[in-house]
């Protein structure tokens, strides 16, 4: 297995892997299940099977629906399952089991039961060259349904949020953006704190314009902010948890800057960007129209790389939006 992507560096994947090790060591009720988790095919689950054994690291057949609800049942019986999904679109396959079952048991039973399951999507968004069925970002969908949803944009947050997700008494979905999995992060030393769910992070302070940046776009926003530093002083807010969203943090930022752009790698229509812009329009004082930088409506990522890249937002699109917002 030595050839598999190694988490042995201070990068994003290492952070997630360490979080899994830490939670499994800390709490006997935590266990892991999913496809090829034993060999750690995604890189994120490396070393867990040798360390914790097959009683706590379950390689599943290709039965996403059953093993997702299996997690729900185990949770009812006091366990804390972490379920890995190799592909983001597998969330579609288990939408019923997450949204209509796991999510609803607490209310439907009048609080008799809690479902502390973590859905770990270790590779969301375009993988560049994996085409239509492997390149979506379904986090806006889960947020709409009310699933606590986390999209860490930095390695330290990947560690801290994954731990918080596992400890949370409710179902939580964790989306690791594909472009970040292989990234190393010099700001991450491999020893970080738990990051509570629902708390945004001001990644960069600035007075002219607020950019809400999600997942890999935290990096995009930092790049753009530095590039444009002589023209505009950008504040970057990384929500980290996309639902429940930290509206207070954003309110403070927009109170200061009066301008808002959201960069988020999901579809425009009813996406996370829509929610952030809508709430800002309803409740905050804006001096200029807010803007979204996202994927087009109903996007299906085409195979050819140039087409794929044309649909995923990036620094160029964010820069253009900043320019427009300042006009």
């Amino acid at each position: 297995m030595s050839g598999l992507p190694s988490p042995e560096n201070f990068g994003y994947m290492h952070a997630m892997n360490r979080a899994l090790h830490a939670e499994m060591a800390a709490d006997e009720d935590v266990f892991l299940l999913g496809e090829d988790v034993g060999v750690g095919a995604s890189g994120v689950t490396s070393g867990l099977l040798p360390r914790f054994g097959p009683e706590r690291v379950l390689d599943t057949p290709l039965s996403e629906q059953a093993f997702t609800s299996f997690g729900t049942g185990a949770a009812m019986a006091g366990k804390k399952p972490v379920i890995e999904f190799q592909i983001s679109s597998l969330i579609y396959l288990v939408f019923e089991q997450i949204v209509n079952q796991a999510h609803k048991f607490s209310l439907m039973t009048g609080g008799q039961v809690r479902i502390p399951v973590t859905y770990l999507v270790s590779g969301s968004g375009s993988r560049f060259g994996w085409a239509g069925q492997h390149s979506d970002n379904p986090y806006s969908l889960l947020a709409h349904a009310g699933i606590k949803t986390v999209v860490p944009g930095l390695a330290a947050d990947a560690y801290g949020l994954l731990r918080a997700a596992i400890q949370d008494p409710d179902p939580v979905a964790v989306f690791a953006p594909s472009p970040l999995l292989g990234a190393t992060d010099v700001s991450y030393a491999g020893e970080e704190d738990i990051v509570p769910l629902g708390q945004a992070n001001v990644v960069r302070e600035g007075g002219d314009l607020t950019v809400v940046a999600v997942g890999q776009h935290v990096g995009t926003a930092i790049e753009v902010a530095e590039n444009l530093a002589d023209r505009v002083d950008i504040e970057i807010v990384d929500p980290r948890t996309v639902y429940p969203f930290d509206w207070e943090c954003l309110r403070k930022s927009v109170d200061k800057t009066g301008r808002l752009i959201v960069i988020d790698d999901s579809n425009r229509m009813c996406g996370l960007g829509a929610e952030i812009v809508a709430t800002a329009a309803e409740e905050f004082d804006l001096v200029a129209p807010p803007r979204r930088v996202c994927r087009p409506d109903g996007t299906v990522i085409p195979y050819a790389l140039a087409l794929d890249k044309a649909l995923v937002p990036g620094a160029a699109e964010l820069t253009a939006a900043v320019d427009a917002a300042l006009r």
Binding site: G73, A77, Q97, M108, T109, G110, E283
Partner: protein
């Protein structure tokens, strides 16, 4: 099992029958919002199976779940209080008929989605196994559910991991209007065997037959020999849902319905107990249900301000539908 428990089996079936008849009338009268899927006719299945279970064992149930819940030992008055949407219901009025659950008794929930329970049961069974207990989980479902992907996946999961689950198919021969043969290729037990499940079929109108078939299968399940499957051939005496009764709609041949009504499991067993015993039980059951109705009708309703109480187990800020 021996003949000694016949009165208990009879009582349990009669309790369900009486409960369901009362509910059906209340549903038709508009007193139970959303109505019910009556269990009447199928009592021998829930009772025969649950006679083998302890409070530590679990069950998952269905949209037609009152029988399972009562047979597993739930208090009728609290179930009825749930159906009336009150705070005295198991689910504090939040679940209603299709979501009745009593975790203390291992009742992991009725379910509004056909076939959803089997995988949940498997997870709970795995946890029991991990604890080292000999507890089992029984998953009830209908013949219609046998074509639902997630349940078929769960058969496989339970089999490869040798989980202590008993899958119970209540084959009442219809899924709403769909006849068994039009929906299920291969037959129920043959299909289950195809997933490596030890499988049997039994007359679901005979509570003692169900009880002993389940006992046999559960012995292996409890001993760690892996999951099993039991088909119970049964019939519902009323329409699929109370609203169809209200409308007077029946998709089945009336002669067929009449024929099956002659196989009613309750008199079948009652005849063996003697009139006195039966009369005594019947009267006691009637009293229990009368009391349950009284209790439920007087139970307090939840406050609309608490509509989203329990949405999350942890403190979580939820934004309301209108922000002024």
């Amino acid at each position: 099992m021996t003949r000694e428990n016949r009165p208990a089996l009879y009582r349990s079936m009669k309790l369900i029958r009486e409960f369901e008849e009362r509910c059906l009338a209340m549903a038709i009268a508009g007193e139970i919002d959303g109505g019910i899927h009556p269990y009447i006719g199928q009592e021998a299945v829930a009772v025969g199976i649950c006679a083998n279970l302890t409070e530590r064992d679990g069950i998952t149930s269905t949209h037609r779940g009152h029988g399972h819940v009562l047979a597993k030992g739930a208090e009728p008055r609290r179930l009825l209080a749930e159906l009336l949407g009150t705070l005295e219901g198991f689910n504090k009025g939040r679940g209603g008929s299709m979501h009745a659950a009593d975790m203390k008794l291992g009742i992991l929930g009725a379910n509004g989605i056909v076939g959803a329970g089997g995988a949940i049961a498997s997870g709970a069974a795995w946890a029991a196994k991990a604890r080292g207990d000999s507890d089992v989980v029984v998953s009830f479902f209908g013949d219609g559910a046998m074509s639902q992907g997630v349940l078929l996946e769960a058969f496989n999961l339970a089999a490869i991991w040798s989980l202590p689950v008993l899958f119970v198919c209540e084959n009442n021969q219809y899924a709403t209007s769909l006849k068994l043969e039009a929906g299920l290729a291969g037959g129920a037990t043959r299909r289950a065997e195809g997933f490596g499940l030890v499988s049997r079929s039994v007359d679901g109108m005979d509570v003692e037959a169900v009880e002993s078939a389940a006992a046999e299968l559960l012995e292996g399940v409890r001993a760690g020999r892996g999951p099993a499957f039991l088909e119970c051939r049964t019939y519902r005496f009323f329409g699929h849902h109370s609203v169809l009764e209200l409308l007077g709609v029946e998709f089945r041949d009336p002669d067929e319905v009449a024929l099956w009504r002659t196989k009613d499991p309750i008199p079948l067993l009652g005849d063996q107990l003697g009139e006195d015993v039966v009369a005594g039980i019947d009267a006691a059951v009637k009293e229990t249900i009368d009391e349950a109705v009284e209790f439920a009708k007087n139970a307090p309703s939840p406050d609309p301000k608490d509509a989203l109480m329990y949405l999350y187990a942890g403190a979580t800020a939820v934004r309301p539908g209108v922000i002024l």
